[in-house]
Structures are given as structure tokens and as C-alpha cells.
């Protein structure tokens, strides 16, 4: 009956009421992350379906004869694990740093917030730089975007991940600027939490990409 719960009517704060008690924007970023799962799933499955189907070299883990500097010659394997492992570790630690920044924001600890958020941004920038260097390096080892299916699927997958990282860095820098101006007090820490959730998601996508793309032979 409509009247049965009407006694509560006076208690509803209409401007802050939500049915679940949860924040709209936090629900939205989680729903968006759910949607992105399918985006990366499509990219990853394409990479895996085409794994080993390249008609010509170079290959990710094996030497080959490939076209380099205009002539067929011996090409080394493309992947170099140490560099990407270092980048992976940096991205993982950036996830650690951003939870500390969020912790600082929630507790009103400005030094913690600014310090760890700056560290996160630096890590993000380093990761993007690592990826740009890697692309450039691979290009010089003979793997162009259209060289073979490996090149197309690899650059598309990691390129989309990299552009997500870049957007995340821009978002985090925006938060950093807000924090520097004192516009990220504890009651507005949710703004940082949303950016942090997106950042962690970008990190977990890399947690999948790193073993599946780089380490599986």
C-alpha cells in the first residue's frame, strides 16, 4: 500500500536521496568499467585468435627472416622482457601510490595526498614513455603496424591500453591541480576516488596483457 511507508516521507532529503545510498558517479564509473571489460576482451581475443597466424616475421618470441631496411634478413624476436617488466612494476606501484593518495585525501592529509598523487602521475608518465620507446624500438626491429597480424593486433591492443593510460594521467593531473589549489578536501575525495578506480582498472587490464601478450609463447 502506498500509505504504508508514507510515514517516512518527512525523512527523505530530496536533494541527496539515492535509492541505494551510493553515489551516482561511483556507480557510473563502475558501470563504465564493466563496459570497458568487453572492449578489452574483444581486443585481447583478437590478439589470441591471430596468435601464431602471421604470414611473415618478425615474431614475438622467435627469430625469423623478415624485411628490414628494405631487404630480407635475420630478425631477432621482438619482445624484450626486462624493459616491459620494469614498466609493469612501475604501473603496479602507481596503483599502490594512488590508494595512498586517496587515503591522504580522505584523512585530510595534504602532504600525503600531494606526494603520492605526484608519484602516481610520474609513474603513469613513465609507463607511457616506456610504451612510446617500446613502439619506436620495435619499429626499428622490423615490426611495423601493417607488417603482419602480430604487429597489427599487438599495436592496436597495447595502443588502446596506452591511450587509456594517457587519459588516466590527464585525469590524475587534473586532480593534482585541484589538490594543489586546495580544492580536494576530504568531503570531495570522491573526485579522486573515481579517477583512482579508473586508474586501477587500467592497471588490471595490464595485469592481463602482460602475461597473455608478453609471456605466453
Amino acid at each position: 500500500m502506498a500509505t504504508a511507508v508514507a510515514a517516512d516521507a518527512g525523512h527523505v532529503d530530496e536533494h541527496h536521496y539515492t535509492a541505494t545510498g551510493l553515489d551516482n558517479r561511483k556507480l557510473a564509473i563502475w558501470a563504465f568499467i564493466g563496459s570497458e571489460c568487453l572492449f578489452f576482451a574483444s581486443l585481447i581475443s583478437t590478439y589470441l585468435v591471430y596468435k601464431g597466424k602471421s604470414l611473415v616475421g618478425p615474431y614475438p618470441h622467435a627469430e625469423s627472416q623478415c624485411m628490414l631496411h628494405g631487404e630480407m634478413q635475420a630478425c631477432e624476436a621482438i619482445f624484450e622482457i626486462p624493459l616491459v617488466t620494469f614498466g609493469t612494476a612501475v604501473l603496479l606501484f602507481s596503483s599502490f601510490f594512488v590508494v595512498l593518495a586517496l587515503y591522504g585525501a580522505q584523512k585530510g592529509n595534504r602532504r600525503m595526498l600531494l606526494g603520492w598523487l605526484s608519484a602516481t602521475v610520474l609513474c603513469g608518465l613513465f609507463f607511457v614513455g616506456m610504451q612510446v620507446y617500446e613502439f619506436y624500438h620495435f619499429l626499428h626491429k622490423g615490426l611495423g603496424y601493417t607488417t603482419n597480424l602480430f604487429g597489427s593486433t599487438f599495436y592496436t591492443l597495447t595502443g588502446f591500453h596506452g591511450s587509456h593510460v594517457t587519459l588516466g594521467v590527464i585525469w590524475l593531473i587534473t586532480m593534482l591541480v585541484l589538490a594543489l589549489r586546495g580544492k580536494l578536501p576530504p568531503e570531495k575525495s570522491l573526485n579522486l576516488e573515481l579517477a583512482a578506480l579508473y586508474w586501477h582498472f587500467v592497471d588490471v587490464v595490464w595485469i592481463v596483457i602482460f602475461p597473455v601478450v608478453y609471456l605466453m609463447r
Binding site: T20, G21, A41, S42, V49, F93, F96, V204, V208, R217
Partner: protein, 116 residues
Amino acid sequence: MDAHAAHGHAEDHAHPTPGLYLRIAIILFVLTALEVAAFEVGRNAGAPLHALIEPIVVEILLVLSAAKFALVAMFYMHLKQDSKIFTNFFVWPLVIAAGVILALIILHEYWIKTTF
């Protein structure tokens, strides 16, 4: 997904501390090192335990990466203490995403094997 879900608020649970976050970071680092180690052992015929590891490198990598994924999602993304609604928003799409990846691999491998 109703009013009772509001109980999922962070205040109701022990709030994670920087100490916990650090422990998770160390575990993540170790698991990543194990991943690379599994890769290297699987690659070098002369490495210790090669014969044991080599056939199951893919399985090891999948388990380790799933563990890392779960740790970040549960602790850094706070799914463990936050409302179950968020977990549902993430896990159901993940189930469908995993199904899509698996199905596409099977469909393509099978197609190749039965056609040629």
C-alpha cells in the same frame, strides 16, 4: 540492490590502512617476479625445474595474473569492503568477457583443425 545495500558503506568495515596497501604491493611485486620467472624457466631448456614448469607455463601465468587481478580489485579498488553492487557491476561483465575470449579461441582453433 536496495536500501539494505547501503550497509556496504566503508564505515561498516575495518578501513584498510597504508600498511595493508603496502603488503598488497609487495605481494603483487612478488607475483610479477614469479610470472617472469615462470616465463624464463619455461624458455631455457637448461634452467632448473624446466621439465616440470615448461608444460604448464600458460596455466601458471593465468593463475598468477588472476591472483594479481583479484588483489587489485579487492583491496585497491575496495571491492572487498564496498557495496556488493559494485562487485556485481564488475564481475558479471568479466564473466561475459571471459566467455567471449574463450569461445572465440575455441571456435577459431576448432575451425582450423577441422578445415585443414
